[in-house]
Symmetry: D3
Subunit: 239 residues, 6 copies
């Protein structure tokens, strides 16, 4: 099957790392390619950034379906443009939030999302509410690091581990969801560090969960509901 990754920012500096990481999550026979946005923002850390990127994200999803792609991953934890894009296509489309958080609901009773900046806390809470899983949310934490700084891996593991410890011991978390798709290649190390310190819990990488869910959907021959995401009616649209 062919999966398209839309990395919904105007720069391509994450592409190589994403490509490398994704390979460990796909099954043999699955291909992956990556597209960025022409119009949008350098990173997504606000509802404003999401709003500016959404029109081009939708275009890119529509284009993917026309090209015969089987499934699309909008590679951002805020699921920007995903609902709108689902209205426009029939192939499965997921962002980073839903697959990761649903996987957490499978593996543990309560989870903590550890993300980048305080500005995304209300956005993530709203996503939890919209999907009806807020009662499983132990807390939303952040490492106070902008998305674009995530490329330097230096102290990231320590920062994440500091929040993991507070999540487990203060908030009652039983699983950790990495709350930014830019936190690539860190889940495994974080999980091991916690385990070495006596806390065995899953650390969920949103990229891996998204790829896994897309394979599941394609193999099952199912996609998002057109009752929930009906095809928009014809009308004048000037854009």
């Amino acid at each position: 099957m062919d999966i398209r990754i839309i990395l919904p920012i105007i720069g391509d500096q994450f592409n190589k790392e994403v490509e490398k990481e994704v390979k460990q999550f796909i099954s043999s026979g699955t291909t992956v390619d990556i597209k960025n946005l022409r119009r949008g923002t350098a990173s997504i850390e606000s509802v404003y950034d999401e709003a500016l990127g959404s029109p081009d994200i939708i275009d890119k999803v529509v284009e993917a379906e026309k090209e015969g792609i089987d499934a699309v991953f909008v590679d951002c934890f805020g699921d920007p443009g995903v609902d709108a894009a689902r209205e426009m296509v029939s192939i499965p489309v997921v962002g980073g939030f839903q697959p990761a958080v649903l996987t957490a609901c499978l593996l543990a009773g309560r989870f903590t999302v550890v993300s980048v900046l305080p500005s995304v806390v209300p956005m993530i809470r709203n996503l939890c509410r919209k999907m009806g899983v807020e009662s499983n949310l132990a807390s939303i934490r952040y490492i106070n690091t902008p998305v674009l700084d995530l490329l330097e891996k230096g102290s990231l593991l320590d920062k994440l581990y500091g929040e993991l410890e507070k999540a487990v011991h203060q908030d009652g978390a039983e699983a950790i969801v990495l709350g930014c798709t830019g936190m690539l290649g860190l889940a495994k190390g974080l999980q091991e560090k916690a385990s070495q310190n006596g806390v065995s819990l899953p650390v969920i990488d949103p990229t891996g969960a998204a790829i896994g869910f897309l394979e599941l959907l394609v193999r099952n021959g199912i996609t998002h509901s057109k009752v929930t995401f009906p095809v928009p009616t014809e009308k004048e649209r000037r854009f």
Copy 2:
């Protein structure tokens, strides 16, 4: 005080009626003007329509603040672009959904939203969930009429009354919220018709509720929280 109404569609066919209607809801000393979008859609009936209109809605809100406007009403029941716009300004900004539904929560234990098309049902449910009031929602109903057909008032009252009756007798509604800001000038008549048929409940017009809330906010010297809607950080944005 000066209120700006952003009627977030690319046509101006509703403007006159809005202007006329709004006058009954403002206090003396309040001025109102109306702007439409340059880029967007002819009406808003899908998440896709919201996504296409949002960038220009945000621009128009930012412009309003720069011009010294005191408060902004984004004149659509789906609150399109409102969260993103709040991040960008300090003046109060409301859409049609929040003021109307909060007013319903004040006046009754459970309310039904009566809107236009089945496509908006999931959108309205998500708004209720996001605002944390889903347990007060008796049902979401629709009259199966596109927004642009609302200009012909002909049978609208009858269609709305049909849904009101089902809302009250089947769903347990104790108040009705008109779920489209295009349903102008209908609330009073609907409320009277219900009363004549022995059911005395409020029918809430989202335009009137929005204007009332904006006056409340300006007089109280309060606006949306910048903890919930923080100012986006500086970064490259290409749009």
Copy 3:
């Protein structure tokens, strides 16, 4: 429009201050007068106090409607007697709780109520549950000061600010609701102090929110639902 404030205690020591404060919240053309109770308590800080005051509150609301008053504010954060009074009249009646908390739901994702004494915490939680907004409640805090001591403004701002800081940094509050209508004239200063310390969030005065909501209701020609608050049947009542 004519608004009647029922200050539901047997003393009139707050009346002057209320009268002065209220003037900033009304629009031109609105008049306000104030009544106290003949039978009731010196202040309201328990369900017991509410029970003793309710019969006279109801009488005063009925009297207001008979006198042609347009809307009534029962000036206490516990909304004492409000539901019963709504059953007896058709004009809008609000207490301090509902308008303030609904305004918080408009402006922020989660709010903290800061009130007077630990004894009112269960009362406020029950009001949040009854109105269906408990999931938006970050916490209920108190400054450990009886209502009647609120007349001396001395250290009040500092006490309130201490709780505001804990609300924001420990409980995740994104807005503050002053949880006693006796906390008059403090919202603006508290909001400014928080802003100077880098936290920009609304501090909501229940009096201002109540007046604003009553104006909204009267201008919209709507009032509480008689399905939720039906007229009591005729029967023997000895009181």
Copy 4:
């Protein structure tokens, strides 16, 4: 142990039947006596009725504690005055709602309350919300019969059974709570009639549940929390 029943209306026409019925629910060694109100209403079917009866209910509960009574049942499904009375005494005090509904939560996954008139539906919903069990509530139904007409047992069983059938087959009820303490001596017959028609579910009489809970509390040496129901502070109270 000595239990006091406060039948919170100004007439005594229910007393004999209550006395007779209660005997089947008490253990040997338990005594029961009954008091009515001097000030209040002929029956309780509105929040207004509750407000008028509450002050005298509280007095009667305080009096019971002074007389050495062990526990008090405020014999009305709306729990009028119960919270306020609990603030004033240390002995257990229950109304009809809490014991019956908690018993339903023990015996079934979802329950329906069948009460007297549409006017009590919002009151019962609010009690469910306050106690945090609304998710177990299948529906609230009523037989459209005023409380005082319950003395004539004629067609009551048929009316109740009609609602029971709709509760089970339309609303998904798995237990029935009789929603008025005036529905005396009917639970057993209703349960049997349902069983004969192939539906075996508990029909819970609020009087029996209340007496059972009071015995439980006294034997366990526990009473309501003074954190939830703190003793009101001293102050001027004119009543």
Copy 5:
């Protein structure tokens, strides 16, 4: 009435103490006897322990009904085997969890469960969710002591009191539920110690609550719903 206690472990070392304790909770005329398991575990501290004990628990409940016993208490806070046993019999069957927690819901707005080990925290949370009362749960705490060590009463009261203090002052608990039926004879002392330190709240012993509820059910002539717990169909079962 005759109550059977199934102490669902393979040892009988708790039997004597249970027998002694239970006597204070029963009314005159009630008899109690105790049975242990032939197959099961030495104590119950995991879902695994529950699974191993359940088949024999069910057998013992069925046996009790055949012997003419009126009601059964499965003497463990996790309610092991209770739902399955209810499917197989018509007499009332309760475990330790439901009666204790429902009693807490009657007496206070929010409660904390203090149990034995961290391993039971998810089990207790699931029970709260299943019964629909999670919103009343302030927290689940534990004294880090295995069940079998509860026989030595030495420092238990101090450990429990330490958790009670944190429950009240950090978590907002207004009542305490002892979260293991092995915590026998401790509720009264813990309640008194709290009261002496200025916190008057109920400490609920699950054994006392269970016995009280069974007496309530038998006297009311009600039992669990066969809609919720239908009789299993005939089929091959090899065990």
Copy 6:
């Protein structure tokens, strides 16, 4: 990767069909084998059936881990023994409920489970509550057909479609979950029939969802949380 399917009944009549069906859901390189129970029941349609089968299910999961199997699917929609088994092993273990329902939460706003008999309705509701997704549940329906009759495919599609129509048009379902793993090979046909009748929504086969989730988990290197499912302590266990 090697997946073990535990078909938790004592007969093997479903094995062949399961083996055939599963092949369409696995990726190349994945192997699957199937085991039945020695002790248990002919089918699982009650909590009682689950209790009898759980001990052997746990044994079989432990055995699978010892044999080097990568992941286990307990092939029943009630997730029998899954929580207990997770305590005993580190490899991923899922039943049919969680993967299917979480997939529904990804693809639609609200879903209906269509299962076999009325007896499983409370069981499925409890699973939804335990996983915290009850607010997304539109309804639980059943075709009134015992599990063992599912082998005759004759009228099954029609029965399922009848419930699907009611789910969509009466209950507001936007996705369908087949609520029994015995409903093999029906999802695709049901989805197509609905689509031909103008309703495009996903019909989720629990077997396909489970296999897909296990592949996701193994590829991501994650498993259930040992905080939620801690290893049981050593103690005497007689079984």
